[in-house]
Symmetry: none
Subunit: 205 residues, 4 copies
Amino acid sequence: MHNNIQKKKPGRPKMTNDNNVTRDQILQTASQLFMTYGYDGVSMEQVADASNVTKASVYYYFKNKATLFTIAVSSMFRRIKEQTDKLLHSSKGLKHRLYEVTFEHLKRPHIDFETLLQEASLSLTEEHTEEIRTAENEVHQALENIFKQAMENGEIVVKNPLLLAHAFSTVTMIRNKKELITELGGPEITAQALVDLFWVGIGPR
Amino acid sequence: MHNNIQKKKPGRPKMTNDNNVTRDQILQTASQLFMTYGYDGVSMEQVADASNVTKASVYYYFKNKATLFTIAVSSMFRRIKEQTDKLLHSSKGLKHRLYEVTFEHLKRPHIDFETLLQEASLSLTEEHTEEIRTAENEVHQALENIFKQAMENGEIVVKNPLLLAHAFSTVTMIRNKKELITELGGPEITAQALVDLFWVGIGPR
Amino acid sequence: MHNNIQKKKPGRPKMTNDNNVTRDQILQTASQLFMTYGYDGVSMEQVADASNVTKASVYYYFKNKATLFTIAVSSMFRRIKEQTDKLLHSSKGLKHRLYEVTFEHLKRPHIDFETLLQEASLSLTEEHTEEIRTAENEVHQALENIFKQAMENGEIVVKNPLLLAHAFSTVTMIRNKKELITELGGPEITAQALVDLFWVGIGPR
Amino acid sequence: MHNNIQKKKPGRPKMTNDNNVTRDQILQTASQLFMTYGYDGVSMEQVADASNVTKASVYYYFKNKATLFTIAVSSMFRRIKEQTDKLLHSSKGLKHRLYEVTFEHLKRPHIDFETLLQEASLSLTEEHTEEIRTAENEVHQALENIFKQAMENGEIVVKNPLLLAHAFSTVTMIRNKKELITELGGPEITAQALVDLFWVGIGPR
DNA sequence: AATGAATGAGTGTTCATTCAT
DNA sequence: AATGAATGAACACTCATTCAT
């Protein structure tokens, strides 16, 4: 519209959020590092080096380590939630879908969220923790939704879908136990066995 | 029982490694701290202060932090193993015994062993890790034995007792999630619900 | 006087160094900040933020922090000198004029010039220091002129007007000692008492 | 006394406060540096280097920079107070004693206390500031006592000894103005002239 | 004219470790 | 057996400064 006189803004144009390659690079690098080595196990210099920028650049984008951690972990949770959500609309049976979630999980290297959070909590503010918890809950709710859907379909019989979601996401934490997984015959077989265990329980028939 | 009679030895008792009150004090303090705050989250000074000795004294008894950690964690595992072993000889049904193990677990504050180990692993030598793994395995074997016994009694039907032991010890890690536990109605009810879930599985009847 | 007639020039006025609103804004903000928090106590980012521009803009107008400081402080000295000069032509008695200078001083928040300069001196070049000294001297000379005038009028009896000027400007530095000023009954009374003290001395009559 | 069985304390004997050469070395070095370059102008590394110890050693004795500053400045004030107290009992006339105080002051290199404190105040806690203020007040009170004594002796006629003490300690701050002092003929003459000025005032006779 | 991005050098602080006593 | 003193290496964070746009 000719009414909108577009005064050219002075100065270097700001990168949009979607188009900030450096920031994204740092974020992705940071998530991986934090998931692998924990909060204290990762230094800002490590993050910088692995992102091919300087330490000061990391601080240009993120106020401090706690903030970087919070944003990195939260955005990772959101990616997981979206993956899980997609499964909700899959046509396959629940058992197979659980297998897929478990398998994805066993492949990725990471440490226990809960422990990670507790380790970091000394350095985080209330708001940081809250933000992460919110993102984490979204994952659990996505999982809970899958279970609810299966209940309505008569696929499973269970009382407490929320506890189920937690238990399931926890049980899949048998990871990094490389020796055990190898002993059992690799990630595929382990995933299959875990889901089976979960599915039939251990009580007598 | 004549085993329990503590005959007081004459003369000044020799301070052996097993009979050193200061060393034990440090060890116990250290385990608690490591379990609560992780490896990096605990400084040698903290351990010293909480043990009412000086930092240098801690180094008098333990060569370095990695060694202290290894010994502290291993001896803690051994204590847990003994507790679990006692359950093996209990006359109660398996389900109740699982409930007891789960309940004990939910009460104690601690972080995920696996994560803890991974966090520390940067500082540990091969031998350290091996020593801890050995102690940890003893716990799992004790648990596995309970499951095996139950299989022989016909109490449960399951294929893979080792995986079962791991899965069980992992699932009980729904701890520190105070909010979830509260939301579900406290540790007793949560423990009961978890065991139920494990017992009957989630598949259709 | 025809000198004062400001003929408005035709056409778009050229932005000269003296007629740049952004630059002036930065300068004024900077003087205040430097006077309040000292040289190291003020960062270029603070100056930029308080001036509603970006850090880079500050560097567009001023080569570096030392230059900004020099220009900001010097121009502030020149403003003070002009105020002091006006007093020279006042019809009131010297004692009252001293009271006014002292009172103005006690009201404004600022730190010791000398200390400020010494703190900054590590970062300043010879020329910078020279420029500030020159501006500062002008203030002292203005004050010296007031004293000289009073001597000629027979208002005061004193040997060394320059030392007097320094001593006076120094003694008025009893500021920021809010507690003392409050204890003595506020800035007006303190100003009066200080001038009195200076006027009659402390020796026996 | 033979009743006091002196159990030899284990470990390296603690250095008493009077006999801790390293700590004292750091303190003295720090006072000088802070007085010369201000709070921000002195880094912990500078202090360490100038004290011939490592940075970590400085932290062994002083919790942080603010604490080091507080203790260094306070103990310096206490040394000054003791010097001033000695003058109280001197048999010489007040004018001569003032000359001595002024001369001592002009010789030593330092920056304005008030400004120094304000600069540091951003980093100091309430308690730190309070501690320094207390030490500073002791100096002023010692000075006030000298003036009171002189009043009782009929040596001087003045209304407000506390203001006088402040004004005097402030006026002696004409230091570091090396050029001025040189121009006037050296510290001795400057000190003499300042006291004269203070003594007779500037009003007409 | 004005700005977003990026950085090198430095600062305060912590911590595991050593050593003489 | 136990300790005070001392340190090197690392870490989180800041800041003055530069540069392409």
